[in-house]
C-alpha cells in the first residue's frame, strides 16, 4: 500500500462511516467523527457508556489524519488556550491504520446487497412485471501456508445458488455493478435451488481440490528442515542420556527439575511448532448478493476480455 492508497482507504472509510470532513488536502484531512467512527477509533469506552446510559447528546472528536507529515499544516504551537486537536499520522504499518483495518474487518463481515436495476430497464419492468433477482454467495477466503515462515493469499469465490456454478475473482465481478442494501421496487428474489449450507460445502470442496493440486514444494522443504532438526536433537539427547547414565554411576546427581528427557520433550514440541508445515484456511468475510441477470457473465467480465 502506498501513501495514495492509504489516503484513499482512509477517506472511503470516513465517508462510509458517515464522518463530516471539515478540511482536506492530499496531505491531511480534518474530520468531525461520526459516533460510529468515534466509538471505533478514539478509545473512549467510558465516555460512550456515559452517553448511552444518560442519553446525553454525544460530542464526537474532531481530529486530523495526516498522510504526509512534511506537507500537512503544522500543529498549533502549544500554549495556554491554544486549540488542541488530536493528530494521527497514518502510514502503512502505523498503529492507526492497523486499527482501521481491524474495525473494517469487524464491520464488513457479512453483507446482503441487491443490484440496483438500471433506469433503462424500467420500461421493460413495467411490461414484464417484477424482475427476479438471482442469489450468489460470495466468500473471501484467506489461505495461509505456515511453516517456520509464512505466506498467504486471498481467494475470492462466488457460488450461484441457482446454477451451482463456482466463480473465482468474485470481488472483481462485483465491482462492475451498483449495489444497494434495500430490495429495489419491482423486483423479487427468486427462491434459490441450493441451500446456503450446501453452497458453502461446495465452495470448501472446491478449495480443497485446488489446494491438493497446488505446489507444495515449500512444505517438503519445511519438512526436510524438520527432519534435520529432529535428527540433531535426537542425537544430542541420546548422547546426553548416555552421559547421565555414566554420571549416575559416579557421585554426581542430575537435578530432578531439569532432566534431559523432559528437556528433550520440550525441545521436540518446539520444533514441531516451528517447522511442521500446515495450511490454514479462514473465511475473511462473506456476503449474499442478488444480481439481476446472470452473475457469471456480468459486465465486469465483458469489460475484462
Amino acid at each position: 500500500m502506498n501513501a495514495e492508497q492509504v489516503r484513499s482507504f482512509v477517506m472511503r472509510y470516513l465517508e462510509a462511516s458517515g464522518c463530516r470532513i471539515l478540511d482536506e488536502s492530499p496531505a491531511h484531512a480534518t474530520v468531525k467523527l461520526s459516533p460510529e467512527a468515534d466509538k471505533a477509533l478514539t478509545n473512549r469506552p467510558y465516555y460512550w457508556g456515559f452517553v448511552e446510559r444518560t442519553g446525553a447528546e454525544p460530542e464526537t472528536v474532531t481530529m486530523m489524519f495526516v498522510f504526509d507529515p512534511d506537507r500537512a499544516p503544522p500543529p498549533p504551537l502549544p500554549g495556554p488556550g491554544a486549540p488542541r486537536m488530536p493528530r494521527e499520522t497514518v502510514a502503512f504499518g502505523s498503529r492507526m491504520l492497523s486499527r482501521l483495518f481491524d474495525v473494517v474487518r469487524q464491520c464488513g463481515r457479512f453483507v446482503q446487497l441487491y443490484e440496483e436495476i438500471p433506469a433503462r430497464r424500467e420500461t421493460r419492468v413495467r411490461r414484464d412485471g417484477p424482475q427476479p433477482l438471482g442469489t450468489v454467495a460470495v466468500v473471501n477466503y484467506k489461505i495461509e501456508y505456515v511453516c517456520d515462515m509464512k505466506r498467504n493469499e486471498l481467494v475470492s469465490l462466488a457460488i450461484d445458488l441457482n446454477s451451482g456454478r463456482i466463480l473465482e475473482n468474485a470481488m472483481a465481478r462485483l465491482a462492475g455493478r451498483r449495489w444497494t442494501p434495500k430490495l429495489p421496487p419491482d423486483a423479487y428474489v427468486a427462491a434459490p435451488r441450493l441451500s446456503l449450507a450446501r453452497a458453502l460445502d461446495e465452495l470448501e470442496m472446491w478449495l480443497e481440490t485446488r489446494l491438493k493440486q497446488s505446489d507444495c514444494r515449500w512444505a517438503a522443504e519445511a519438512y526436510a528442515r524438520w527432519l534435520d532438526e529432529t535428527a540433531r536433537v535426537d542425537a544430542y539427547y541420546a548422547e546426553l542420556a548416555d552421559d547421565a547414565v555414566n554420571r549416575k554411576r559416579g557421585e554426581e546427581q542430575q537435578t530432578p527439575e531439569d532432566d534431559a528427557s523432559e528437556q528433550y520433550e520440550r525441545r521436540k514440541a518446539e520444533i514441531d511448532r516451528q517447522y511442521k508445515p500446515r495450511i490454514d484456511v479462514r473465511a475473511v468475510n462473506a456476503g449474499l448478493f442478488h444480481p439481476a441477470g446472470d452473475f457469471g457473465t456480468g459486465r465486469s467480465e465483458r469489460g475484462e476480455s
Binding site: Y13, F101, V104, V111, K142, Y236, N285
Partner: protein, 550 residues
C-alpha cells in the same frame, strides 16, 4: 465496508515466503544495510533462532526489532517475551514503540504475563517466584534475551530458567559471546539450538584445545556460523566516518601554575606518607585531587573542603590544605574555559563538552552562560525523563551540552560532530565511551575531537599515552574491554598510572614508565585480537557461504 475489509485483508497479505515485509512498514527511520542483512539471515537462513553478537553500538536492538516486526506482520508471532537487564527495560520498550510501532509494554503487574502479548521484563524478575512458574507455563512464540552473556554458565539459575522457557523463535543478544572460556559460547548456542555443537563432552573433545584455544577451527567456525552473527566495526560493510583529533596545548597562567604545583606537591607528600605508613585507604581522594587540578579550581576546592573536614583537628595537614585554598583564591581565570569558548565560537556548530567533575560542569555552564552560549547539562544522576529532555533541548535549542557522564545507556548524539574533552579520563574505556556517544552508527559527518591539555602537567603525559602509544582517538579499538580486563588482572589501570606518576622522580622516568604501559597495552591487544579471530572468522565464513547460495 465489505470491499474495504477485503482491501484491508489484501494489504496485510504475505505474498511470499522469503521477502522482508517489515521494511515497507517502518516510518521515520531506516535501518543500516548490515542490520537488514543480519535480520534477513536470521529470518531465512537461521529460521528465527540465532545469537546476535554484534559489537557494541552496531544496533543489535534494531536487528532484533526487525526480526520481531517481520514475524508479527506475518502473524507468526503473537506472544513474545523480551528479557533484559532491569535498567534497559524502558529503553527497549521505547525503541520498539517508536521505531517499530510494536506495542510492547514493560512488565509491572502480575496479570501482565498473560494479559499482554509483547512484554519486556527484567530477567531477574522473571526468574523469581511467583513469576517464574507463570512464565514457564506459557508457550511463547518468540523469546529475546538481551545481554545474553548472563547465560554463559550452564549451572546458573539464569541459564536453566531461559532454557526451560517454551519458545518457537529465540534470539540471544550479546556483545561478548566469549569472555573467558569457549564453553560459554557452547552454552549460548545450546540454548538456541541444542545439539548444534554436539554434547558438551564431545564439544570439548572435538573443538577445544584449551579453555581459550580452539581446535578444528575451520569446522567450528562453520558450525557457529549457522547460529551466530557477529558484525564488527572493522568489517568493510559498516561505514564509519573519520575521527579528526586536535590536541590543544595550553600554557597555564602564573596563578594556575602555582596552584598546580602546590597541589602536586601536596599529593606527593601525602602519597609518600600513606605509603610508608602502609595505609592505602586514603589513596583515592589523592588520585582524584591530582586529576581535578587539571580540570578546574572549583573541582579542587570541593575535594579539599571534604578532605579538610575529614582530617583531624590537630593534624598539620590542615594547614597545608588551607594554604592550597589560599592559592585557589588567587586563581581568577580558567585558561581551558577561555579556550573552550573560543573553540565553540570558531566551529559555530553543536558540540559536547565532556568533563569528569560535577564542580567543573557547574562552572562551565555558568561560564558559557555569561558569554551568551546556550548550554545544557547532562549527568548520570538525572532520571530517564530528564536525560531525554536534555538531549532534546540540545538537539533543538542549545549549541552545547556539558556532560559528566558518557557511559551507561541511552544518549545518542549522532546529530552533533564535535567533542571537546575539557579534561581527560585516565581510563581508555571512558574515553572510548565519550567518543562513542557521537561517533556511532548513524553519524554522517566526520567527528572532530578536541583534547584540551595544559603543558607541563600530568595531563600532558596521559594524553601522550592515550593518543600516541595506544592511538585511542583516531581508530576504534575492538575489544577494548577485554584488553583492559587482561591488563588489570593485577591492579586497576588508573591506580597503575597514579603510582607511576607519584613515584617517578623525573619526567624521563615517568615517560619510560608510560612507555612500558603502552607496550603492555599493545601486547594485550594482540592477544585479544587473535582470540577474537575465532568468532569473527565464523561470521566471515557465513557471509561467504551466503553469497554462494544466492
Amino acid at each position: 465496508m465489505f470491499r474495504l475489509a477485503v482491501e484491508a485483508e489484501t494489504a496485510s497479505l504475505v505474498p511470499s515466503f522469503d521477502t522482508m515485509l517489515c521494511l515497507s512498514r517502518l516510518s521515520g527511520f531506516s535501518p543500516m544495510p548490515h542490520q537488514i542483512e543480519t535480520a534477513r539471515k536470521v529470518l531465512f537462513e537461521m529460521r528465527g533462532r540465532a545469537v546476535l553478537a554484534d559489537e557494541v553500538g552496531l544496533g543489535k536492538t534494531i536487528e532484533a526489532g526487525l526480526v520481531l516486526k517481520e514475524y508479527l506482520i506475518r502473524g507468526l508471532v503473537r506472544k513474545a517475551l523480551i528479557l533484559v537487564p532491569a535498567s534497559l527495560v524502558l529503553q527497549w520498550v521505547r525503541e520498539l514503540n517508536q521505531k517499530f510501532d510494536i506495542p510492547a509494554v514493560a512488565h509491572k503487574k502480575e496479570y501482565m504475563w498473560t494479559g499482554c502479548d509483547i512484554l519486556v521484563a527484567s530477567l531477574d524478575t522473571a526468574k523469581r517466584a511467583p513469576h517464574r512458574d507463570i512464565v514457564l507455563g506459557i508457550d511463547y512464540d518468540m523469546l529475546i534475551v538481551d545481554e545474553a552473556h548472563k547465560l554463559k554458565n550452564d549451572r546458573s539459575a539464569n541459564y536453566r530458567f531461559v532454557n526451560r522457557i517454551r519458545k518457537k523463535y529465540c534470539l540471544l543478544l550479546t556483545a561478548t559471546p566469549v569472555q573467558n572460556d569457549l564453553s560459554e559460547l557452547y552454552n549460548l548456542i545450546t540454548v538456541v539450538k541444542p545439539g548444534q555443537l554436539g554434547a558438551q563432552d564431545r564439544f570439548r573433545e572435538t573443538f577445544m584445545l584449551d579453555r581459550r584455544v580452539p581446535k578444528n577451527e575451520e569446522r567450528l567456525r562453520g558450525e557457529i556460523a549457522k547460529v551466530m552473527i557477529r558484525n564488527r566495526r572493522g568489517d568493510g560493510d559498516i561505514e564509519f566516518t573519520r575521527r579528526i583529533v586536535r590536541n590543544v596545548r595550553l600554557e597555564l597562567s602564573v596563578d594556575e601554575r602555582r596552584l598546580y604545583d602546590g597541589v602536586t606537591d601536596f599529593v606527593r607528600n601525602r602519597y609518600r606518607e600513606a605509603k610508608s605508613s602502609g595505609s592505602s585507604g586514603s589513596m583515592l581522594p589523592l588520585l582524584v585531587l591530582q586529576r581535578e587540578v587539571c580540570s578546574s579550581r572549583d573541582a579542587v576546592f570541593l575535594t579539599l573542603v571534604r578532605m579538610f573536614a575529614k582530617t583531624p583537628q590537630d593534624s598539620p595537614v590542615r594547614q597545608d590544605i588551607l594554604s592550597l585554598v589560599e592559592l585557589i583564591r588567587l586563581v581568577q581565570a580558567n585558561t581551558k574555559a577561555e579556550k573552550t569558548a573560543e573553540l565553540l565560537r570558531e566551529c559555530g556548530d553543536k558540540a559536547v563538552v565532556f568533563t569528569e567533575y560535577r564542580a567543573t560542569q557547574e562552572y562551565l555552564l555558568q561560564f558559557l552562560k555569561e558569554r551568551g552560549i546556550a548550554a545544557v547539562p547532562y549527568r548520570g544522576g538525572m532520571n530517564r525523563g530528564k536525560k531525554d529532555w536534555m538531549t532534546d533541548l540540545f538537539r533543538n535549542r542549545a549549541q552545547v551540552m556539558v556532560a559528566t557522564e558518557a557511559g551507561g545507556e541511552g544518549i545518542n548524539l549522532q546529530f552533533c560532530n564535535h567533542i571537546i574533552n575539557f579534561d581527560l579520563p585516565w581510563n581508555p574505556m571512558r574515553v572510548e565511551q565519550r567518543i562513542g556517544r557521537v561517533h556511532r552508527v548513524g553519524q554522517t559527518r566526520d567527528v572532530y575531537i578536541f583534547n584540551l591539555t595544559t603543558a607541563g602537567t600530568i595531563e600532558e603525559h596521559i594524553l601522550t599515552l592515550l593518543h600516541e602509544k595506544i592511538n585511542l582517538f583516531e581508530r576504534v579499538i575492538g575489544g577494548l574491554d577485554a584488553i583492559l580486563e587482561r591488563l588489570e588482572s593485577k591492579t586497576p589501570w588508573e591506580a597503575n598510572l597514579f603510582r607511576l606518576a607519584m613515584e617517578a622522580e623525573s619526567d624521563d622516568e615517568l615517560r619510560a614508565g608510560l612507555d612500558r604501559l603502552g607496550k603492555a597495552f599493545r601486547d594485550a591487544e594482540r592477544l585479544v585480537k587473535s582470540e577474537r579471530a575465532l568468532s569473527t572468522g565464523g561470521v566471515r565464513l557465513a557471509a561467504r557461504s551466503g553469497e554462494n547460495q544466492s
